[in-house]
Amino acid sequence: MTATLAPPREPGSPASASSRRLAERVFRVREFGIVAVLIVFVAITAAIQPRFLSITNIQFVLVDATIFALLALGETIVVISRNVDLSVGSVLGISAFLTAQLASQAHGLPLPLVFLAGLGIGLGFGAINGLLVSLGRVPSLVVTLATLYIIRGLDVLIVGGSQVVPSSYYPSFLTISKATVGGIPDLAIVVAVVIAVGAYCLRSFRSGRELYAIGSNPDAARLAGIPMGRRIFTAFALSGAIAGVAGVLWASRYGTVDSTAGTSYELQVIAAVVVGGVAIFGGSGSVVGAAIGALLLQTINSALYVLGVSPDWDQAIAGFLLLLAIVLDRFISLRLTASLRRRSARRGQ
């Protein structure tokens, strides 16, 4: 997958060139395709079943999608650097249980502290992943596969057969995911802001750009003097911290938490990231795309439910879409490369 194709310099009349460039830009933005799919999908579903666009349903989808999108944000940061974090589901699970227990036992505790606890738990595990990958120089696929097992094992040891039930929380914990401002869930707003900040940092910060550089060509990045170890460590630490916070939200959203919370969630998150146009081998893609990917997958789940399709179809459709997304992405990037080459060859004459 060719990562970022530099826009060719167009000599000639400025007007036609700039309009053509604009059109090119729009179509080249990877998010464009997926937004189109999302809109078409919502339109069709709403045409068949108007209830799909009811306020309550939209709120439901948004809240579910925010947890998903948050995880996709963390995963994107890691995937861009040509790594992968398979442990997010386990980190979410253990953070969900520990913070849920905190919320049900320490009733006087202010909410921010619960979130801070989740953040800390996630950050700890993320830092371990980051250290193992960057300092231990072991492929992240193997490291995070191992920590996926280990963290889930710890979770099971701590939780045992017990579970935290909603009635035991103090009330404000459960309302986190229900509060709205002008009909829009608070959570969705906060997560949208977080994603915007993440997108800005990856786009415009030096460290963010360096992650793309590492992902496009690690050897070149090393030669360019990019502190690879530090950057990759940070990426994993961030991914872990985000998964930890997502765990708190998970506990608040679903209420009941046992030792299986978030099991095999990592593959869904990776699916959302890939559907959102992030190249699985790094160097290309955006946080916004990944978030829209998460929103799309969540919308599809919800739409199938609203349309009365048996939930048994969810997974097959999600899998099919993921395959479709990567196949389309492949063809588009091939076509693009070919057309750019043809054009530059023409100009060369």
Partner: protein
């Protein structure tokens, strides 16, 4: 994008294979069969030690550990995973990965259940299940080789897709009441032995896979393309065709595992085999197969299966929370990738000290010698 995992490995780096590079061993071109085998043999001797340690610890923990009856149980719970580990080893050696095996297992189990509920004759069902496995593998293989997609992404997609097909086929239904002739085969030993049938099948397959991988041009070409897919293509190897066939073999083996799984539990339900893919990958990596491709052996897989099964079983006998055995599997996996790196690291530190450079001990980690690719 031919060697996806090589690409993914780009910025992390050391595997057992790299240690081999440190020896004044023969270059890749000049190496004869034995020169190549040497580093692999060393990994396997480490595994032998691990297996022995587990056996000693197990028998110390419980007098039942080294009994025939326990061996039978141990094999029973590992058979299907072991069978899927063989083609997985080949795929990873070729530089790809297949995460969809658990779903292919689930899908075959669902097909078996649905057709049996529809009163199909068992032999016809077997034929259909085999075709399902081949098709599942072919879809993976063609998407990876002909469309040129990364196998990690493709097989995450088919992981969901095949499981989804199992869900659609079976729904919330459970099919049981399979004929006793078959379910007995799932839960009893091969006559005159203490081996479950699935382990018997695994051993036969392991011998076949070992011969194919280590002693045929086809098998040797898998190593070549795992080392460097581009070079293998230029050398005239049919990289795409070989890789596609590996995925097909994996699909077929997973279908077989699905049938065995269904008969062992006497149930076809939609979530049969969920979560097994990572177990299979863990075994293969524990076996010393490099995630970057190009290295590993069937002997290693055999030993890793023993270690994996022994460990799970020892934990079971000590009343360790069964769900938490992942803790140990994961630990083992981490150790298996870190031991070679630690050796490398220590050697590097020693060299650095000898050169009396003034670097801090933490710094060299980021500037260790790298393999040139």
């Amino acid at each position: 994008m031919d060697s996806d995992l090589n690409a993914m490995a780009g910025n992390a780096a050391m595997t057992p294979e790299h240690i081999a590079g440190e020896e004044p061993g023969p270059g890749p071109g000049a190496s004869g069969g034995w020169g190549r085998l040497r580093p692999a043999m060393r990994w396997e001797s480490g595994l032998v030690v691990v297996v022995i340690v587990i056996a000693i610890m197990g028998s110390a923990l419980s007098p039942e550990f080294l009994t025939a009856n326990n061996f039978f149980n141990l094999g029973l719970n590992t058979g299907e995973i072991a069978i899927m580990a063989l083609p997985m080893a080949l795929i990873i050696i070729s530089g790809e990965i297949d995460l969809s095996v658990e779903s292919t297992l689930g899908m075959s189990s669902a097909v078996l259940g649905v057709l049996w509920a529809d009163h199909w004759p068992m032999l016809a069902i077997f034929a259909v299940v085999a075709v399902v496995g081949v098709l599942a593998g072919a879809v993976n293989g063609l998407l990876v080789t002909r469309v040129g997609l990364p196998s990690l992404a493709v097989t995450i997609g088919t992981l969901a897709l095949y499981r989804g097909i199992a869900l659609i086929l079976l729904g919330p239904r459970t099919v049981a009441n399979f004929p006793a002739f078959y379910t007995n085969a799932g839960t009893t030993a091969i006559p005159h032995t203490d081996l479950p049938w699935s382990i018997g099948i695994f051993i036969v397959l392991a011998v076949i896979f070992a011969i194919v991988l280590h002693a045929t041009p086809f098998g040797r070409s898998i190593y070549a393309m795992g080392d460097n897919a581009e070079a293998a293509t230029f050398a005239g190897l049919r990289v795409k065709r070989v890789k596609t066939s590996l995925f097909v073999i994996s699909g077929l083996a997973s279908a077989l595992a699905g049938v065995l799984y269904t008969f062992r539990l006497n149930t076809a339900v939609q979530d049969n085999g969920t979560g097994l893919s990572l177990d299979v990958v863990a075994i293969v990596l524990l076996a010393g197969v490099s995630i970057f491709g190009g290295k590993g052996s069937i002997g290693g897989v055999f030993l890793a299966v023993l270690a994996f099964a022994g460990l799970q079983n020892a934990l079971l006998l000590t009343n360790f929370n069964q769900e938490a055995t992942g803790l140990v599997t994961g630990g083992l996996l981490l150790i298996s990738v870190f031991v070679p790196n630690a050796a490398m690291f220590v050697r590097y530190l020693r060299q650095a000290a000898r050169r009396a450079t003034r670097r801090l001990p933490s710094e060299p980690a980021l500037s260790m010698p790298r393999r040139d690719t």
